[in-house]
């Protein structure tokens, strides 16, 4: 399983790493109990500072997706975010939908777009 990062992406690198890992968890590619590589390994592979990856792992840990155990490294803890506040979940969705409306897509196109993304997200993991 691989994590892809893009230099042209506007998100900061740590965010791309955290989002990439979340997407793999959501798709079921990364399952509960699986061990992630060490911060040193990911930073070395990418050629970036250790802190960048450490921040991404810390964010995932705070959101409850990772458990960091001494000696065992970072382990996937759960497929569900601790954050269940509906408002907080709605905000990024609203931002993304706004982008699509501003890009000139109509309702049906947006629905199709969202459907395809959801299918892509779930294709590896099968059922939720």
């Amino acid at each position: 399983m691989f994590l892809t990062v893009d230099f042209n992406d506007k998100r900061p690198l740590y965010q791309q790493v955290a989002d990439g890992i979340k997407a793999l968890i959501a798709r079921g590619v990364l399952r509960e109990g699986m061990t992630l590589p060490s911060v040193r390994q990911v930073a070395g592979d990418l050629g970036v500072n250790l802190n960048t990856i450490a921040v991404a792992y810390r964010e995932l840990q705070e959101e409850g997706f990772l458990a960091v155990r001494h000696g065992a490294g970072a382990v996937v803890a759960s497929r569900r975010s601790r954050e269940v506040d509906e408002d907080a979940l709605r905000k990024p969705l609203r931002t993304a939908l706004t982008q699509l409306v501003l890009a000139g897509l109509n309702d049906r196109e947006i629905a199709g777009f969202v459907q395809r993304e959801l299918e892509w997200l779930l294709e590896k993991g099968g059922s939720r």
């Binding site: 399983m1 691989f2 994590l3 892809t4 990062v5 893009d6 230099f7 042209n8 690198l13 890992i21 793999l24 990364l30 061990t35 992630l36 590589p37 060490s38 390994q41 990911v42 070395g44 592979d45 990418l46 050629g47 970036v48 490294g73």
Partner: protein
Amino acid sequence: MSAEGNAFLPLASASLVLAVRLFFLVRRLWDYPLNHGPGFFLGVAVEPGFYEGPGIRWLKRYRTLLLAQHAILVSAFVVPVALHRWNDLPVMAPVDVITFFSMIGGFILWTRRRLGASPPRLSSVAVTLDARRLSDYISWPMEAMVAAFLAFSWALLFTHGDLHFRWQWPVLITYAVMGMLPGKIILARYSFPLPPERTEEHHRWLEANRRYSLRVMESMRWFFVAILAGYAVRHGLPSGKTIWLQWSFLAVAAAAFLLMTAILIRGSGQLAAMGRDLRPVGSWAGPFQPARLMLRGGLAWSILYCAGLAALLVFFGR
């Protein structure tokens, strides 16, 4: 042992090593720059039609250097044989390592400077999320066994060594064996960001490459360890009663050598087939780091290792 007996073992093993190296030259090294297809020359991306134009000259330079390196190796065999200095035949091994690393490695670095000073920078790269641990690649119990055999050989030579043995071989072999450990660690830890296209294949190829190099080094180390143990037994224990032990270590050394040869020939063929239409390492730069051909620390280790071997050879040759 008689003079003929003394000559037989070093001569037979040196001939075998030379035969394998010449076979490897013809089968694998001759066309090595073309391993990744006509789009690359030794890890550098080249323009279409390169091999009809300047590529002919580059290939000629590479092959001339390769022949020169093998000529030195052949001399390291022929000169002691012509002078009947059988005990000097093992010098072939360090001479081969030093000249191969410096001449071919130097040529690869020079090629990159002249042909591929600025490889394309990929804006998007991938990394594996499979955890790698040192113990996945290096067996510490095996390392302990290597250390135990070396310690046994040294203890035997120190306490029971006869008047005929020469310290230069135990020192050289111990250096060759122990000096490879940092190289193995560097190899086990090396990493590159992967291209976003055909990521899985690039990853599999790089992993196979890593395991192949580690296996070659491991079998080479066991070959040396068995040679040293056999040498220590020969010079440290009464020969009448322990001849079977000498032959046992010799058999282990022969097995390790055959294993290394099999890995070298089969493994390099498989790697060439796997990587035929993949990008070679060093032909791309990640968004956050320059293109790397060598492993981080690999260049420093090779220079230090070869310099140490050369220094020992010069010191003992005086």
